[in-house]
Point group: C2
Chain length 119, copies 2
DNA sequence: CTCCTCGTACGGTAATCCTCGTAGTACGGG
DNA sequence: CCCGTACTACGAGGATTACCGTACGAGGAG
């Protein structure tokens, strides 16, 4: 049989608790173009995207690095599912701590992208 | 006669035009604790504050550096008035480019400060 | 078991950043 | 003209960051 979703691996990744998330860290995480792009895709395509789904113009090592920064800042949640690592925005936590912040960043990024003709 | 406000000096400081302001640069500027503190004070006390008004726990050289980062990112506008340099938030430009962003950052910072018992 | 894919860990390089101290400039007042 | 105040410019140290290449581990498919 072919389970739709492979079992979640026992490998666990360190995430900050909700109360440990710092605004400065979140802003710093979102300030990088590559990471902002990742967050925008996560917000647009829904959450549950594997790392390899993103075709970033950097190597896999660097991609891993950026995902780690986002996770340690509390912006995304990562979970192993078989060999894949699924990524999801921590919308609930972020909206609770920083109401409106994520949305305004996403809107701002979209507006700027439209203004500059970049995706 | 004693003019209430000394003449604005001819020394001009380079500011990015509204269309040149980049979201990534703004987020990066706001991601530093010292600069976030400056922006919060500017938003609270109104704009027209001199650099020396801020009692930051760093030297004046470092303070100058942070103000420059904020100015070059398009977050604040600086103008010489006599020997003093007055600083003001570029609220209109920021709100036009990134609606809601500055406010949500300010609210988030205030909430976090209250939560952590830090000013 | 073997291969392939996905992602990590490690090590290294170049760039950026925060901080400082010192020296210097612009401006206003006596 | 001289001095004090406000801020800058320059140079440098130390930390962090972004990026890469290579080597490795974990898990599914044959």
């Amino acid at each position: 049989m072919t389970p739709a979703t492979p079992a979640i691996s026992s490998r666990d990744l360190p995430h900050p608790a909700r109360e440990e998330i710092r605004l400065e860290a979140v802003l710093h995480a979102l300030a990088d173009p590559m990471r902002l792009r990742i967050v925008r895709e996560l917000a647009a395509d829904g959450d549950e995207l594997s790392c390899s789904h993103f075709a970033l113009p950097v190597t896999k090592s660097t991609t891993t690095h950026h995902f780690r920064v986002l996770r340690e800042a509390g912006v995304i949640r990562q979970v192993y599912r078989g060999t894949a690592k699924m990524n999801g925005l921590r919308r609930d936590d972020l909206d609770d701590l920083f109401p409106g912040l994520l949305d305004s960043v996403l809107v701002s990024a979209a507006r700027q992208a439209a203004r500059l003709g970049t995706g």
